[in-house]
Structures are given as structure tokens and as C-alpha cells.
């Protein structure tokens, strides 16, 4: 990818270090040290990305933002600040900056590699919008590539818009794939049907396209959730598959600023699904396929936390947002544990391992500190998701009165979903068993438990 870049920053040393890095990566890179020169360059040249420091003079950063929004709205703007306090000093919020046209806000100092990733994410995510549709379909083409380069999705969860935005493959055997749909081709369902007959359960795409896939399917999901003709079952399955791919990306490549935004969109979609589906309670009682996918547990925690939230009389839309995201990310600290430990249950661990395991809530909360767009409340949910009402949880042995109220929702649903998936029970049947388990009950706040139960009632 060769993009052209403009770096606007008052600090020549900083600019030089970034330029050296990006020139090596064969980006076309220009520099400006004040707003006036920057605007002139933007007027004369075509840039895809601008890195704009908030503290430039002689045409302030706000003037430059306004200029770009008016004259070159396609440019991606990454705003940088000299330190974390600066934003508060100036008295502007990240939200307001984004409204002015900034796509990301980065706090200095950061490594140029981090900036590069941010640029790539932003650019990749937007690029599918520019893909021109191509009506001549190409022939299927065999590709030799390693299994590890691909991510798969179930055929039954496959939706596509009129134009495909990434290449699709089917797998013939070990390291052997056939590209059946090319990026930019118009989608023809009969072509896929041909392969379905071959008894194939999965469609594949390159893992490097996963972010594009997530962004695209997130948009698609929004539309599908609003469709009356699609069944609830299909909607839930598709939502779960988008969430699954999202978490796969987070847990394999780490969280990045653009993924935080995608996560917020995923949560919004989940909330809309739960909010708008009048038959959801009926469906939830009997649906038995909740445990099939890799990140199914995290999806379920978030899903049932939203449902619980809806039935807590104090929960606002702000609470739902933080509980949904907290539910998805609550175990992110496990990324810092040795890989051999990630799938072990505490009962299988020795004392040293257990001690390490009990540090994952704090590790997770600390990881999230790197992302200014994640609210403090979400970090607290991650930090407290193993505290129990009886004070016997970890890491701080907080009792019910001390636990952050939204965290209580995630704590309960973390245990509840583990319980039903372990026992392979449908949600309602599982709940009936769960409420009778005297060893578990003291862990939970009764009001929260009642809200979960009420989630199975008909909407009034």
C-alpha cells in the first residue's frame, strides 16, 4: 500500500523521526510545521492521511480540521496530542474532535509502528466503500496457500451485499483453496449454491481481510436486524458470527483504536437486536445452539448482560453501552497469561498458576488504559468481573456493597453462561438449575439475578 501522508507538527525532531520511518515503508511523506503551510500543501497535493498535532500555531489545528472537512473531506485525519492532559486543558472531548473530522486521537509518545497500524486500519476499513463493482465474473481459480492464512465462516451465516468486498475461497484440502468470488465482483447466489452441493460447510477468506470483513458485516448486520423478513434465529446466528470474528481479531492481533470503534458498533447492533425483537423472549427459552463458537462465551456474557440491563430499573443507555463492551472484553487480560494457561479452568491449576490467573482482571484493565476512547466504567467492569457479593472473589475481595453496580451484571452473566454451556442446557432450562445452586447463589446480587430472570418474560 502506498499512501501519501502529511505530518503537521511543531516539533521538528518528532517529525523527522516519523518521516524517516514512513519513508522507509515507502509512503510518500510531506511535513509542515504550522497550519498555514499545511493548508497550502493540502491545497496543492493529494493526501490520503494527515497526522495533525493539536498544538500547531499560525492557523490552529481547529482551523486546519475545518479546512480539510470543507475542502478535502476524504482525507483521514489522525490527531495527536503532546500528553494526555492536554485534551482536558483545551476543554474539548474526543467526541467533539471526531465531529470535526478526526478519525483517531493518539497521545504522544507512541511508536511509529503504532501509528502505521492505525493508518492501515483506518484506510483498510474505508477502502471497501471505493470498490467498483465488476459484472464480469471471473473463473474460479485454485490457490496454494497455508491453512493458517485463512479465517472461516459458516455458509449458513453468509450474507453478502451486491458487491463482494474481499475475496472468498472454499477449501479443497490441506493448504489447497479455490477462490470462488473475487473482490469487486457482483454477488451471485447461484454460484455459491453450486459449491454448497459439494457438502462444504464453510467459506474462507484471508485473515488479513478480517478487519474489512468485520467492518462490512457490522454495517450489514445493522440492516439485517431491522429486516422483518429475516428470522430471529438467523439474526442471532449472524450477530454471533460477527461478534466471533471481531473477538478473534482482538484476541489474535490485540486491540487497536479502530477495533475499539468496531466493538462499540458491534455492541450497538447487539442492543438493537435485543431491543427490537418482540419475540426474543420466546426464542431465548428454547434456543440450544448458543455454545458452538470459539468466542461464544464472550458473546453470551455480553448478550445476556444487555438483557439483564434492560430489566434493571436504574440502568440507562450509558449502562447498557458499558456493560455490553465490558462483557465482550472482560477476559482480555488473559492475553497476558502464558498460552498454556488460557484454556485451563482454575480447578486444574496449581498454586502459582492460580495466582497468575487471579491477576487477569487487573492485567485487562491496565491494557485498556492505552485506549482513551474506552470509558473508565468499562475498565472497572473488566477489573471487577471476578468479585463476588459474599466478598470471596478476586482480586480485591469486594463485597456486594462495594462492587461497581454494572460490574455485578457481568459477574452474574459470566457465571450463568459458563453454567449453561458446561451443562449444555438451553437458557431457560439452565436458569432453572442455576438459581437452585446453593454454592453459586451467595456470589450474586439478588436484584441483578431477578433482572436476568425477568429477561425471559414477555415485554410489557
Amino acid at each position: 500500500m502506498s499512501l501519501s501522508l502529511l505530518i503537521i507538527d511543531p516539533d521538528p525532531v518528532w517529525v523527522k523521526s516519523l518521516m524517516t520511518f514512513f519513508l522507509e515503508k515507502s509512503f510518500k511523506t510531506d511535513d509542515a510545521y504550522n497550519g498555514k503551510d499545511a493548508q497550502l500543501l493540502i491545497y496543492k497535493n493529494k493526501y490520503q492521511v494527515v497526522i495533525l498535532d493539536l498544538d500547531i500555531q499560525n492557523h490552529s489545528s481547529f482551523e486546519v480540521l475545518r479546512y480539510i472537512k470543507l475542502n478535502s473531506p476524504d482525507i483521514k485525519i489522525i490527531v495527536t496530542v503532546k500528553d494526555a492532559l492536554r485534551i482536558t486543558e483545551i476543554g474539548i472531548t474526543e467526541f467533539e474532535l471526531k465531529k470535526l473530522g478526526a478519525s483517531e486521537l493518539l497521545t504522544k509518545p507512541f511508536l511509529p509502528e503504532f501509528l502505521l497500524k492505525t493508518i492501515e486500519n483506518n484506510y483498510q476499513i474505508e477502502s471497501w466503500r471505493d470498490i467498483k463493482s465488476n459484472t464480469d465474473s471471473k473463473e474460479a481459480e485454485e490457490v496454494k496457500a497455508g491453512d493458517e492464512e485463512f479465517t472461516r465462516i459458516k455458509f449458513e451465516n453468509f450474507f453478502s451485499g451486491t458487491t463482494t468486498i474481499y475475496d472468498h475461497y472454499i477449501r479443497l484440502g490441506k493448504n489447497k483453496f479455490v477462490k470462488i468470488l473475487h473482490e469487486g465482483e457482483s454477488f451471485d447466489s447461484s454460484r455459491l449454491a453450486k459449491y454448497r452441493d459439494a457438502d462444504l460447510d464453510y467459506l474462507y477468506f484471508k485473515t488479513t481481510d478480517r478487519l474489512t470483513y468485520i467492518n462490512f458485516t457490522n454495517e450489514l448486520l445493522k440492516k439485517i436486524i431491522g429486516k422483518k423478513s429475516t428470522t430471529i434465529e438467523k439474526k442471532v446466528k449472524f450477530t454471533q458470527s460477527v461478534v466471533d470474528k471481531y473477538l478473534e481479531q482482538v484476541f489474535s492481533s490485540g486491540l487497536r483504536p479502530s477495533l475499539v470503534d468496531e466493538g462499540k458498533k458491534v455492541c450497538e447492533n447487539m442492543y438493537h437486536l435485543i431491543e427490537r425483537e418482540p419475540e426474543l423472549n420466546k426464542f431465548m427459552k428454547t434456543y440450544e445452539e448458543f455454545n458452538s463458537m470459539a468466542y461464544g462465551h464472550l458473546f453470551l456474557v455480553s448478550f445476556f448482560s444487555i438483557i439483564t440491563c434492560k430489566n434493571m430499573d436504574w440502568a440507562s443507555s450509558r449502562t447498557i453501552e458499558v456493560v455490553a463492551l465490558g462483557g465482550l472484553l472482560h477476559d482480555i487480560g488473559k492475553l497476558k497469561l502464558p498460552p498454556s494457561m488460557r484454556d485451563k479452568r482454575p480447578a486444574q491449576m496449581n498454586d502459582d498458576e492460580r495466582k497468575l490467573y487471579e491477576s487477569h482482571p487487573k492485567l485487562g484493565a491496565t491494557m485498556l488504559n492505552n485506549f482513551p476512547s474506552i470509558p473508565e466504567s468499562v475498565k472497572q467492569i473488566v477489573y471487577q468481573h471476578h468479585e463476588w457479593a459474599d466478598g470471596k472473589g478476586f482480586p480485591n475481595n469486594l463485597n456486594s456493597i462495594k462492587i461497581y453496580p454494572p460490574a455485578k451484571i457481568v459477574i452474574l452473566n459470566n457465571e450463568y453462561t459458563t453454567f449453561i454451556t458446561d451443562k449444555k442446557l438451553a437458557p431457560l432450562a439452565g436458569l432453572k438449575e442455576f438459581i437452585k445452586d446453593k454454592s453459586l447463589l451467595p456470589k450474586f446480587d439478588p436484584t441483578t439475578m431477578k433482572a436476568l430472570i425477568s429477561g425471559f418474560m414477555k415485554d410489557k
Partner: protein, 148 residues
């Protein structure tokens, strides 16, 4: 119906004034303190049902304030806020039981949380039910669902 008394603690006089103005209607009396030391004095003298507190203050920070208050067996709900860069302190205050958290300058939803905090401070929930009572309460709710 009484709404309860609120204490606001912040070393920035302007923000203190603004918060007091905006939150007045949600409480019976709004007390303000420019730092942690004065906050502790007010908490000793007055009946306070909810505290909203900046975490990073000179003289005595938010961590120290809640730590001392809790050591006196006072579990009044605390709402903390922070500017960017004090996240470690937020994990510290959580150890003493915080009711909610905000990121300065985004106070969206603060009024609602204050109202809820004051209510909690007024009537602390009763946590004393035993397992069997709870199970029968849950069961009753579940039966209602079955009979829908």
C-alpha cells in the same frame, strides 16, 4: 420526599461552582470542598448521602479520602471522575468500593447517577436474605414466566 445531601470535592473552583449549579436540584443540600482534607471534615460533621470527587487533587487525593472514610465504617456512595492519565488511581479507589466513574470532561449521565447514588446512600439495600428465601423468590418469578 427528602432527596439527601451531596458533597462535591474538587480543587478547580470553576468546575466546583459549575457542578454545584447543575446538581443543586437533585439534592437537598449541596456541600462543596476544595480538597480532601476539608471533605473529610464535612463528612464528619454533616449527614452526607453521596460524594462526587475528583481523584487527582493536591494535599489529599481521592484515594486517601475514600480510604479514610471507609476506615470509619462509613459506606456512603462515592462517584469519582478523572482527567486522562490518572487511571492507576481509579483502580486504587475501586478497592474501597466506588459507585461510579466518569472521564473528565465527559459528564453525560451524571445527574442520573447522582440521583441514584443519593437514593442508595439514603436506604442501603438489605443484603441479609438467606439462600432458601432467595431461591423461593427466584422460583416464584420463574413460575410466572412458565405460566405466561
Amino acid at each position: 420526599m427528602p432527596k439527601g445531601n451531596l458533597l462535591i470535592v474538587d480543587d478547580e473552583p470553576l468546575l466546583l461552582k459549575r457542578l454545584k449549579m447543575n446538581l443543586q436540584e437533585y439534592a437537598d443540600i449541596v456541600f462543596t470542598a476544595p480538597d480532601g482534607i476539608e471533605a473529610l471534615e464535612i463528612l464528619k460533621k454533616e449527614k452526607i448521602h453521596c460524594v462526587i470527587c475528583d481523584v487527582n487533587m493536591p494535599r489529599m487525593n481521592g484515594v486517601e479520602v475514600i480510604k479514610r472514610i471507609r476506615s470509619e465504617k462509613n459506606d456512603v456512595p462515592f462517584i469519582f471522575y478523572t482527567g486522562h492519565g490518572n487511571q492507576e488511581m481509579m483502580l486504587e479507589v475501586a478497592k474501597y468500593g466506588a459507585f461510579d466513574f466518569f472521564n473528565k470532561p465527559n459528564f453525560d449521565g451524571l445527574e442520573e447517577v447522582i440521583a441514584r447514588g443519593l437514593k442508595e446512600g439514603f436506604h442501603r439495600p438489605d443484603m441479609s436474605k438467606d439462600n432458601d428465601t432467595l431461591i423461593s423468590e427466584y422460583q416464584k418469578l420463574l413460575n410466572g414466566i412458565e405460566n405466561e
